[in-house]
Symmetry: D2
Subunit: 106 residues, 4 copies
């Protein structure tokens, strides 16, 4: 995920516009929440949403996520895999299968 060329493309895009100054981790975290809510707005009144709009908003959330992973010197794929490993332990198949309950209620 975020192979070097997409990372570079995003970094160039930001550098060309001299926007790194605004991309503090805190501002990026706020931005992720802001875009996540624009994605949620596609479903404000029900489960059916315009796919094009969902696609756009999801792209915005992902973009800010990639900017933040990069800002923190992390690799998106690595942190997802690492977290998945811990989630396996919190949600063992035999307990969690078919259940949406949180791990402390399994």
């Amino acid at each position: 995920m975020a192979d070097p060329s997409l990372r570079d493309e995003l970094a160039d895009f930001v550098a060309e516009r001299d926007w790194a100054q605004f991309h503090t981790p805190e501002n990026l975290a706020k931005s992720i929440s802001i875009e996540a809510a624009e994605l949620l707005e596609c479903f404000q009144w029900g489960p059916d949403a315009d796919t094009g709009r969902v696609r756009d908003e999801l792209a915005d959330v992902l973009t800010y996520c990639l900017l933040l992973t990069d800002r923190l010197g992390l690799d998106a794929e690595t942190i997802v895999r690492d977290k998945l490993e811990r989630t396996r332990e919190k949600y063992p198949v035999e307990k969690a299968r078919g259940r949406s309950a949180k791990y402390d209620e399994l």
Copy 2:
């Protein structure tokens, strides 16, 4: 981004637990907002946050984003690149450089 093996790993993780039934696009959109706020909580009272915690919450946001892109039959990298193209047009370098203003205020 989300090379086939990470996608498969996530898909297997979900399938093993029979969780796809909960992963409607709407529920995934809600989940992205929920996790985005947990990430934001790292910065609730100021700009400095525990890096390990930020890393964890960011991984959760990314995970749900990847689950949603997959659920919609999209490719994460493709939608980010496509959106970046449109953002270039909305924020031409000569107008946007060094400015955080929204495109309709440039």
Copy 3:
């Protein structure tokens, strides 16, 4: 808070437009998150925000909160007071004074 006349005014506003059908608790919860993010957007790149815009977005969050309290047959002031009582216990003055730490870290 939300004296009978403001409650009635909101209820009439909704009834006139036949909007109660959309105001399920879940949809109202989504709406609160959506508007909260529009409020947050006023501060996306820093701590200074346009007061008029903050005022507007805050009004929207409050409006949806009042619609939800009403939908659930609750009274806004009562639930805030009740919660404050419990928060007093979680954050006793002698431990919490001057500290932003969460109660389990006091």
Copy 4:
């Protein structure tokens, strides 16, 4: 809404703990989003939620909203009424009745 005594109660609660220093408008806006997502989490996997939990989280959102209105020298009820007036104009009954569409799509 937020009659003088609830306002005072909240203000005293904050003052006793010397917490006003953390309550910048930006931090309060972040807090509102954070609590709104905890409310949303009650509905993460579907429309039915534990009423006690919803009540609690809703109280938290309202509390931070009242802290922010007070911090900005506003009155919660006044700003809701003012916004309602403008919303009447954006959503005239004859056009908006029974429709969840946004005002620019009516």
